[in-house]
């Protein structure tokens, strides 16, 4: 093998080696940090959301979610992910279709009439955006042993076109928490 040929292979090899080294260093040495009793983890309740049927333009649907951080430490970031199991124009039309917003209350939400009220401090942790997709929650500050009292608001915009009538969408939502590295 000539020197030139050898030189042409060296950069990719170096890249491989560097990547492997970085990845290995970043990964924790032991998996039990995920499943151990004290490992920080997220629990969302309830396990399912009640269906919202017969929506009309301008309607808003509210569902409560208790997002608990079990274990020690805190999350560097928490994401809401909404996956579409059965798609329709409600999910595909990002302008007139369903939109989601997430608010947190420093205390438990209380049922008041056809809505939920907060006796504490309200924060918008996810501003209104199209339903499907993955978004980082802001100002959540979730630490181990604490619970975020969330209100999921799904809205069909008032300007929704009549083409969105008679549509059904099935969604699955989940939260992903990225643990902050231990100091």
């Amino acid at each position: 093998m000539s020197v030139r040929r050898l030189a042409s292979v060296v950069p990719p090899l170096a890249l491989s080696a560097a990547t492997l080294a970085l990845g290995t260093a970043a990964a924790p040495g032991k998996a039990p940090s995920v499943s151990g009793h004290r490992a920080l983890r997220l629990v969302a309740k309830p396990g399912g959301i009640a269906p919202a049927l017969l929506l009309a333009p301008g309607d808003r649907v509210q569902r409560l979610v208790e997002l608990r951080a079990r274990g020690r430490g805190h999350f560097a970031a928490v994401y809401l992910s909404v996956r579409i199991r059965r798609t329709s124009r409600l999910a595909r039309d990002r302008r007139h279709g369903l939109q989601v917003q997430l608010r947190s209350c420093s205390r438990r939400w209380r049922h008041r009439g056809r809505s939920y009220a907060c006796d504490g401090k309200i924060r918008v942790v996810l501003s209104r955006r199209p339903l499907a997709g993955r978004s980082r929650l802001v100002r959540l500050g979730l630490v181990g042993g604490h619970t975020a009292h969330l209100k999921l608001v799904v809205r069909l915009p008032g300007a929704s076109t009549r083409a969105l009538a008679g549509q059904t969408t099935r969604v699955v939502y989940s939260f992903a928490g990225v643990r902050a590295p231990r100091r």
């Binding site: 000539s2 040929r5 042409s8 292979v9 990719p12 491989s16 990547t19 492997l20 970085l22 990845g23 290995t24 990964a27 924790p28 998996a31 940090s33 995920v34 920080l40 983890r41 997220l42 629990v43 969302a44 309830p46 396990g47 399912g48 959301i49 269906p51 919202a52 049927l53 017969l54 929506l55 009309a56 333009p57 649907v61 979610v65 997002l67 999350f75 199991r85 409600l90 799904v154 069909l156 929704s160 009549r162 083409a163 969105l164 009538a165 008679g166 549509q167 059904t168 969408t169 099935r170 969604v171 699955v172 939502y173 989940s174 939260f175 992903a176 928490g177 990225v178 643990r179 590295p181």
Partner: protein, 376 residues
């Protein structure tokens, strides 16, 4: 200067480079994924269904094509739109040519009023016709167009292969237009253009030109509101009255009396379709009228029927809904709270009683029923 000569193993160098690069990317993916998985906690909140009403709340209008006129106090005259019903009553077109021509056609525009945005399962153009003489032959084919823009949506049949022909007898032809009329948005703005011929260059007699629609929520017929007979390549537009306040009016068949009478009326049956299960939140009628002769005063009141059952009266013989002494049309809008069910809406009949100070006729420009409903 670069030589065109290549080393013997030059072809091997590129695959090796690619292999190394792909390997590096794979290693990066695997290790990074493992790292992220170890640092991420996932909580599934679960799933759920979200659905919308089948038909959003909105106001839909209907107009009568079925009109029975007893204004003279005698038996009812059938003043219904001849083109809207297969009842052996026919209109006669102008004369066609023995050969098809691109400038020889009849346009039929249909009244809409169906809830917008609903998918159409099937749409059929119904055309019942015959040559004006039994020993003539006639054929037709059609184009589907948007009424508002005249944009061509599709063609069915051709001059060489017509949609249907008649050898002198009445033919009830149907042409599927489902490929073009895919939603009520198109159905509410529909024009069918009929190209026809006649073996002896004579007219056709048309009994029916309508469109039947099927949707997941309702079935209905679209009835014509504008007929442009260009059989001889010259426009001749006939507007069905009652549909708009554009000056085209219906004049009562008989002369009215100076006093209201139970036997002097005009019955209007709007071409309404409200889906089964719909919730009606409001109903109203708009009625525009005047005296046929200037200087006369015409007054009116009306009864509302669910089929043959009287369900409401608005005004009376002593207190009419209104009187009009001017020579301009006056439009009255009257709420119909009694029309609060699908059955009442779909069997709605307005029986309008009229009187005229000059013992003459009245002109009616608009009869419109507006229903606001939704279907959950």
């Amino acid at each position: 200067m670069r030589s065109g000569h290549r080393a013997p193993d030059a072809g091997l160098r590129r695959p090796v480079r690619w292999g190394v690069a792909v390997g590096a990317a794979l290693a990066m993916f695997v290790t990074t994924s493992a790292a992220l998985a170890a640092f991420t906690s996932l909580a599934t909140g679960g799933g759920g269904s979200l659905s919308t009403q089948r038909i959003f709340a909105g106001t839909r209008s209907a107009w009568p094509s079925d009109v029975r006129d007893a204004s003279g106090g005698g038996a009812e005259t059938n003043s219904s739109d001849v083109l809207s019903y297969a009842d052996a009553l026919t209109v006669t077109t102008k004369s066609w040519s023995s050969g098809f021509g691109t400038t020889r056609f009849d346009d039929f525009d249909f009244s809409g009023g169906r809830p917008a945005g609903v998918a159409v399962t099937s749409a059929t153009f119904n055309f019942t016709f015959a040559p004006s003489r039994t020993n003539d032959d006639a054929c037709f084919y059609i184009e589907v167009r948007r009424a508002s823009t005249n944009a061509l949506l599709g063609t069915h049949g051709s001059s060489g292969s017509p949609s249907a022909c008649s050898a002198g007898t009445t033919v009830s032809a149907t042409v599927s237009v489902s490929a073009e009329v895919t939603s009520t948005d198109i159905a509410n703005d529909l024009r069918i253009r009929v190209y026809a011929n006649n073996s002896t260059n004579r007219p056709l007699k048309i009994d029916l030109a309508s469109v039947t629609l099927t949707t997941p929520w309702f079935a209905t017929s679209l009835l014509e509101k504008r007929w442009d007979d260009e059989a001889n390549a010259a426009a001749a537009v006939v507007l069905w009255p009652f549909v708009a306040t554009e000056g085209t009016a219906y004049t009562t068949v008989g002369n009215l009396a100076t006093a209201f009478s139970a036997t002097r009326y005009v019955r209007f049956t709007p071409n309404q379709v409200v889906p089964t299960g719909a919730s009606i939140s409001s109903a109203q009628t708009q009625f525009a009228y005047k005296s046929a002769t200037a200087g006369d005063t015409t007054c009116w009141y009306f009864e509302v029927y669910n089929g043959a059952t009287l369900i409401g009266t608005h005004g009376s013989s002593t207190t009419p809904v209104s009187c009009n002494a001017t020579s301009s049309y006056v439009t009255n809008t009257v709420s119909l709270p009694e029309v609060n069910s699908v059955t009442a809406a779909n069997n709605l009949v307005l029986k309008v009683y009229l009187r005229n100070s000059g013992l003459r006729k009245a002109s009616v420009e608009l009869v419109q029923v507006d229903l606001t409903y939704r279907l959950d």
